[in-house]
Amino acid sequence: MATDSAAEALSTESAAVVRQDSAMQRLRRNWSVRIGGVVLLALVFIALAAPLLGTVDPTLFDAGSRDLTPGQSGEITTLDGDSIKHTFIMGSDSFGRDIYSRVLYGTRVSLMVGAFSAVVALVFGILLGLLSGYLRWLDGPLMRVMDGVMAIPAILIAIALVAMWRASLLSVIIAIAIPEIPRVTRLVRSLVLTIREEPYVEAAISLGTPAWKIMLFHILPNTVAPLLVQGTYICAAGILVEAILSFLGVGLPPDIPTWGNIMAEGRVQFVTFPHNVLFPGIFLALTVLAVNILGDGLRDTLDPKMARRS
């Protein structure tokens, strides 16, 4: 009897199909991805739902309500000239603006700055990396230019670009993205160089497959994982750089609230009214932390080789 069932168990017919975990399943099980993902989703929700969460127009101010501590209430004058009563959950700044509203609306800008600078850096990096890896004659000079850009400290490029140009969302995003492009380019380029040597790519080339098809169907899919990880780090760095730019006085104009410029404006009163700096600071740190943790989790699940290296 026992041997019968044992033999049964061993027979190929009754062998159970053991599923390998797919990438998505591994992702979902990883703690870092879970925590980082949940926090980010919450922040995205806050960003989208900001007008509904008990906020007022973040640019409205009333000098009579300046420097209120968290929990106090005061008045705000609207554009039509009416005064409304409002409780300042997180206090007010030296203009009389509601910090709670500014922090919540600031979530939008900070997330956008982080996300878009990552996207811009990735898009340009992919393009340049593909070109560099594929076109031998372009590779040398392009890599030299990338080295040049990497040699200039990123923050100085960002400061110079934003200060020289106009301080707007677009200029800040581009100024943050530019110093990150070389690293992405190198990554994509090295991937292109390794994958090119693969036999199936050689086969495809000999079959007469055009270059763009090879790039699109063979090379790009392999770049998704490491670029996704890189993208999260660029996003985190971008949010921090925006804060630094605001601190130095070359960030976004203050009527677009970002966590960076709320802190920059409030820092004169840090000792007497720390809520100006602490509330946006906590949100900033949490967001960057979540993005970093998410990035770590993605790296651990999607690309174990990178995981061991750092």
Binding site: D147, I152, A154
Partner: protein, 313 residues
């Protein structure tokens, strides 16, 4: 080895040339008129035009670049529009402060992060490892100036242990020199420590998985010898690499730290120069930083020889 050195040095030249062109273009092609700023509040358009002529800003771009390039090659970085001093003198004046801050930061960071990283790798998966990794991620996430304000508030204002701001050159005594640099160095080093600790941990972890570690342990060597003499030296290459790359992060942090702690260094000079559209100073300082960065990475590459005898140039 010397051929390698020569080749590497030569290859830095095109990179630096590209940096020079990039910086020059970045400044000239963006709006902002240094002449109007220098002329002051009550000047009229005619006076501004005369000043622009005096600064040489009305010549065609290639001519301006050629003039600048020629002067760089003879070691002259030009004269600041704003301060009426040679850029090289300006950099020379500010160099000591930034150099002192950076050196102290690097020393502190390396001597803190490497041991922590080694310990974390040794006790992989344990509570120390988890805490260290947690702190290191947090180190990446807090903006430098928030950390600076909190530190100043606690240490300088509440406890009164250290001064709030300022820089004392080493010529005025080692004691005050160090006292004024401690808080800024700690502030600046946090992100550096986070980075180095992670890489140290990962690198040592990889080294600890190698066969020769098992052999060393089997031979009965004390654990400390195993860790330092065998694991760490073999793990050194990525660590030293990241120390070199981290210099770029350091420069970013230096700009903010010098602002908060009122240290008259190169970081502040750059920000002031950018805000004043002082082209020669901006160009000069960025070029200077780039040269330093390139040289340090060259040194890092050369140091591999000491750490990994397999690497031969």
């Amino acid at each position: 080895m010397y051929k390698f050195l020569a080749r590497r040095l030569l290859s830095t030249i095109p990179v630096l040339a590209i940096v020079a062109v990039l910086v020059f273009l970045m400044l000239r092609l963006t709006p902002g008129d240094p002449a109007a700023i220098l002329a002051g509040d009550a000047a009229n358009t005619e006076q501004i035009a005369r000043i622009r002529e005096g600064l040489g800003l009305d010549r065609p771009l290639p001519v301006q670049f050629a003039i600048w390039a020629k002067s760089i090659l003879s070691g002259d970085l030009g004269e600041s529009f704003y301060f009426k001093m040679k850029v090289t003198s300006l950099i020379g004046q500010r160099l000591e402060a930034t150099l002192s801050l950076a050196t102290l930061t690097i020393i502190f960071a390396v001597f803190t992060a490497v041991p922590l990283g080694v310990l974390a790798a040794w006790r992989f998966g344990g509570w120390f490892d988890r805490i260290l990794m947690g702190f290191s991620v947090m180190g990446f996430s807090v903006p430098v100036f928030v950390l600076a304000y909190i530190l100043i508030w606690i240490v300088s204002l509440k406890l009164g242990w250290l001064p709030v701001q300022g820089y004392k050159p080493i010529a005025e005594g080692f004691g005050p020199f160090i006292r004024h640099l401690i808080l800024p160095a700690i502030t600046l080093s946090v992100i550096y420590i986070a980075l180095i600790a992670r890489v140290t941990r990962a690198s040592v972890l990889e080294a600890l998985g190698e066969d020769y570690i098992r052999t060393a342990r089997a031979k009965g060597l004390p654990e400390s010898r195993v860790l330092i003499r065998h694991a760490l030296t073999n793990a050194a290459v990525p660590i030293v690499t990241v120390i070199g790359i981290g210099i770029a992060l350091l420069i970013g942090g230096v700009v903010v730290t010098e602002s908060v702690y009122a240290i008259p260094g190169l970081g502040r000079l750059t920000v002031d120069a950018v805000l004043a559209r002082d082209f020669p100073t901006i160009q000069g300082v960025i070029l200077f930083f780039s040269v330093i960065y390139v040289m340090i990475n060259l040194l890092v590459d050369l140091s591999y020889v000491f750490f990994d005898p397999r690497i031969r140039y």
